[in-house]
Symmetry: C2
Subunit: 409 residues, 2 copies
């Protein structure tokens, strides 16, 4: 792909930004570790919001905190005559997993962990805003055609935050939007890009199996929800992949089962949670239809009442070709030509970012955060997940470079 | 069976005891409802212990509270020359189930419920002690050969209380022991009896499935404990009954599964709880051996580490023939000949009472507490379980009559 880098001007503003970011590496790592040690789940990101807002304010920016003190936006006025914006989006919430690491910045909150890298996303977007604010005079000399907005959204993990930010006018005036997402298997210092879908159609489900509790010695006097639950999960795993075109990707994953409190009492009910991820709408429809029948069949077999809800859904992301090309050029400038790679297959992860892309063109890039030691690499959402912090400088520089490319092009 | 009732003396002392118990019915129901509304789980029966001790003390008795303020015993000295005792045992703890009733005496403590009737057992034993203490002079005139002890034990539901009471010398001097257990399907005012086993060999199990968590979109990067858990439960249900002589009873029941906390993260581990109940030791051995192989097989198939513990066990009860005969006679005197029935099959319930029977001969009787309306009958340990309180008077009278029969025979 072609590079649109403004090479002529690199000498002055780019070297200075690069150095500025490098000089703040320790501070940035400390900031990210503080967020990591104090994770907040979706809808409760008050401390994280406050920390980011305070740091921006201290740097001379004027962040605007969103309703309920969750999430914020901050604008950089680089061209007072323009009423359009280029946006960078980051997210603030953590995942509901136990932190199993033994590092100093391990989560201090039981059952909560920044195992999806949002601590890094927020830190990088924040330092990119600060770096560009510090260099606002130099950037203004490049004759930018737009201003910049940084969006720090809550509730990404439950697919609610983007919609809430949009409803609060976060996209008003925004012409295009980008975001970074850490990738624990892509080498640190590398960037991955693709046009079209980067993530999947995601649907979370919550199944309630209602039976009739009783004594564990007399199952015949109960309607035991546990055989219903285990057979339901088993059938989902067997029939999900058999209800759609096998050439397309599917991840149907049960992530939680909760039932019972005692060793000697059959419970009344069981709850089953999970997600259904496909790359195509029709595959999601087909698997959902099959699930309905599986539920009916298990209900008939066991006598339980079984109900399914879909509490969260997010569409597939859809990366805009032109923005990906711009990002590619910026990435080559930042990390070098051989460290930018094409992502062959979309991930089956879900990404709330897709909601912004339904309003304006946008693209999400993958930022490599892999550790050199393959044994230290753990998947997103794993209790041992962490990032190679050397990638933070790369990420901030990449966000700065991409933003500047976008507004001066 | 023959009756050994001392009919000659009934006119005086028995009519008086009967009336005494009837006069206290409202008070007794109120006492039982207070326990019901304030259930305490195994090992935490401090309030219940205190309530029973206070009531006994107020009646002029001298209860002795056991270590850690859980459980108590109280003696009635009826023959100062005798150093032997006949014992009545009751239990104090509740079950870890949610109370789903909508009565005034519904549990006030979330997740805890007297769904096994121990509130009734404790109330009946207590009022029997009080009634006989009030009639101590009349009973002494019957020339009793033994004294009486009432044992109120904690931790029946986890099969620890009896052993703890025995270790604290509760059986010292005791020659034989009886207990009542409510039966929600036997008509109120009826008594059920059997010689030999009344309850089963019980073993509780706790299985830990350790995998490796990760993102729900990338199960191939995880070692998912959930397919392991559901297939494990499924195989247990299929192979348990196929690993022992099918002519003997078996209840293999999974009562709890807990795994996962999020919609989008594969958890590290799953926990499975349940009980294994058989009428014979060899059946328990055979099913346990099969479980071991099932665990190994699922571990191999899934890559998870799987571990099983057996946190609680209790042997089968073994009702002494002579004591059952004595109880039969007493029951006929109290409820009438046609309301005493033989229990054909032992239950698969577990009963800590079995531990006393390993030290001294004993017998447990079933007291009918069924509601007239069949739709109001729920099994022991069910969230809707309750007792027909009209059975309380019957129970207290039966305990008095049996105790007196035993000490004067």
């Amino acid at each position: 792909m072609s590079s649109t880098a403004p090479k002529n001007t690199e000498a002055t503003w780019w070297r200075s930004i690069k150095q500025f970011v490098r000089d703040r590496e320790r501070e940035m790592i400390a900031f990210r570790r503080d967020l990591h040690a104090n994770p907040e789940p979706s809808g409760e990101e008050m401390r994280t919001t406050r920390r980011v807002a305070d740091a921006l304010q201290q740097a001379g920016l004027e962040p605007k905190i969103m309703e309920d003190d969750r999430g914020l936006i901050v604008d950089l006025e680089l061209n007072p005559d323009s009423d359009t914006l280029f946006a960078v989006r980051a997210d603030l919430d953590c995942v509901l997993v136990h932190d199993a690491k033994s590092v100093d910045w391990k989560s201090t909150r039981d059952g909560l962990c920044h195992a999806c890298g949002h601590d890094a996303h927020a830190s990088m977007a924040m330092y990119a805003a600060i770096a560009m604010h510090e260099h606002r005079d130099a950037i203004r000399e490049l004759n930018p055609k737009k201003n910049l907005r940084f969006i720090f959204q809550p509730s990404e993990e439950i697919s609610k935050g983007a919609q809430s930010m949009i409803a609060q006018h976060a996209l008003d005036g925004v012409e295009s939007i980008i975001a970074l997402h850490v990738d624990p298997y892509l080498e640190a210092g590398h960037v991955g890009l693709r046009t079209g879908p980067l993530t999947a159609n995601c649907l979370s489900f919550k199944i309630t199996v209602n039976g009739q509790g009783g004594h564990s010695a007399r199952p015949y006097q109960s309607i035991d929800p546990i055989p219903a639950a285990v057979n339901l999960v088993s059938m989902m795993y067997q029939l999900g992949p058999r209800s759609m075109d096998s050439r397309y990707p599917l991840a149907l994953t049960v992530t939680a089962i909760h039932t019972g409190k005692a060793f000697n009492a059959i419970p009344d009910a069981a709850e089953i949670w999970g997600t259904l991820r496909t790359s195509r709408d029709e595959d999601q429809d087909n698997v959902k239809a099959r699930l309905r029948e599986v539920l009916r069949g298990i209900a008939t077999s066991t006598g339980c009442d079984i109900h399914i809800d879909y509490p969260h859904s997010s569409p597939a992301t859809n990366n805009d070709h032109q923005i990906v090309e711009m990002l590619w050029g910026a990435a080559e400038q930042v990390v070098g030509r051989d460290r930018v790679s094409l992502i062959e297959m979309p991930s089956l992860g879900g990404e709330d970012f897709a909601y912004y892309q339904q309003v304006v063109p946008g693209a999400m890039a993958r930022l490599g955060t892999a550790f050199q030691d393959p044994n230290a690499r753990f998947p997103l959402h794993a209790p041992e997940f962490d990032i190679n912090e050397s990638a933070l400088v790369t990420g901030v520089r990449f966000l700065c470079r991409s933003s500047i490319h976008s507004i001066i092009e």
